[in-house]
């Protein structure tokens, strides 16, 4: 069951949403987004681009994970209205990325039940990689 507007309070946490990311995930995303950039596909190209560990993941995939986490939380009848984030750190191979979030505001605007959150994508080391915000309608 998805969460309801009444159940949400300031400080309510977004349920954690995780994926281990490697070529299986990156290549699928490269295929649907037609995002065939050498440093996302090849370790040597990743090193040439300055990442010693080799190939690294797409910012757009992390963005998709934030959207997915929000959708899973509010359900099909809810609506993701806005998502913004900054890419601050590299998504390394085999990272377990976890979307986290916390409600900062809830309001009723023009009869719509609106919830605002701070969101982030945390890597295996617990480092935030992608600080951002979101607005959803329930």
């Amino acid at each position: 069951m998805s969460i309801t507007f009444d159940e949400i309070e300031i400080g309510t946490k977004l349920p954690e949403w995780s994926r281990k990311t490697s070529f299986a995930e990156w290549n699928r995303f490269a295929a649907v987004n037609e995002e065939f950039v050498p440093f996302h596909m090849d370790d040597e190209a990743g090193r040439r681009a300055g990442n010693e560990q080799g190939a690294f993941g797409m910012g757009n995939l992390r963005y998709a994970y934030i959207v997915n986490a929000l959708h899973d939380w509010i359900g099909d009848e809810g609506r993701v209205q806005e998502v913004g984030c900054q890419y601050r750190a590299i998504n390394q191979k085999d990272d377990v990325l976890t979307v986290v979030g916390e409600v900062t505001e809830k309001s009723i605007e023009d009869g719509k039940h609106i919830v605002r959150l701070d969101v982030n994508v945390v890597n295996s080391e617990g480092e935030p990689t992608c600080p951002g915000h979101a607005v959803v309608e329930l």
Partner: protein, 199 residues
């Protein structure tokens, strides 16, 4: 569109020398004079001239349910995506009454026509003629109506502003671009404000 590392070279710098001669011959306050007489700037006259001006529009192929299902499967892998993205019968029982696309779905993937490269100078230029390196500094997307199978999306973009700061990477230009997507009924689908970091 990546996270965190240099990825683009500015094609504009190839025409830099030619443009530089042009700048020197122009009497009013030009990028050349700004960089030679005052402080360092990567802002070009082309940027000043095009600020706020919408570029040409381009259209997607019609979105299919398979496009949507594949996108949702890829972004949820290895788990299954929500049924509203692939189960027609179920989706007809929701308030949307049909399959919808995930908000982040990109209908412009696999177009035969490539988007025009950014016009020379619109991504900034280094006074010494060397290429600027760019990275994706982030984005905010605001969503309108959902995309559905059969939709044709048109996109246009414009430069909306910039600022320059001394950062960890030296002198850095932050360019803000607005991208607008509308469907075949002229309904707003998405507005994206993106930041390109150029140094």
């Amino acid at each position: 569109m990546i996270g965190g590392l240099p990825h683009t070279k500015d094609p504009a710098t190839e025409t830099h020398k030619q443009n530089n001669r042009l700048f020197k011959s122009t009497l009013k306050s030009t990028a050349y004079e700004r960089m030679s007489n005052t402080k360092l700037t990567y802002v070009t006259d082309e940027m000043l001239a095009s600020k706020g001006v919408w570029g040409p529009s381009r259209s997607s192929y019609p979105i299919t349910d398979t496009d949507i299902r594949r996108w949702a499967m890829a972004t949820h892998y290895p788990k299954h995506p929500p049924r509203i993205y692939w189960d027609t019968e179920y989706a007809s029982t929701t308030k949307y009454q049909s399959i919808i696309a995930p908000p982040d779905f990109n209908p412009f993937a696999w177009s035969l026509e490539r988007p025009a490269a950014l016009a020379p100078g619109l991504a900034g230029r280094r006074p010494d003629g060397k290429s600027l390196t760019g990275m994706n500094g982030g984005q905010t997307d605001t969503y309108g109506v959902p995309m559905r199978p059969g939709d044709v999306i048109s996109a246009r973009s414009r430069l909306i502003g910039w600022e320059e700061r001394e950062g960890r990477l030296g002198h850095t230009l932050y360019v803000r671009t607005e991208i607008e997507w509308r469907n075949q009924n002229d309904e707003l689908v998405k507005t994206r404000i993106s930041i390109s970091v150029r140094y």
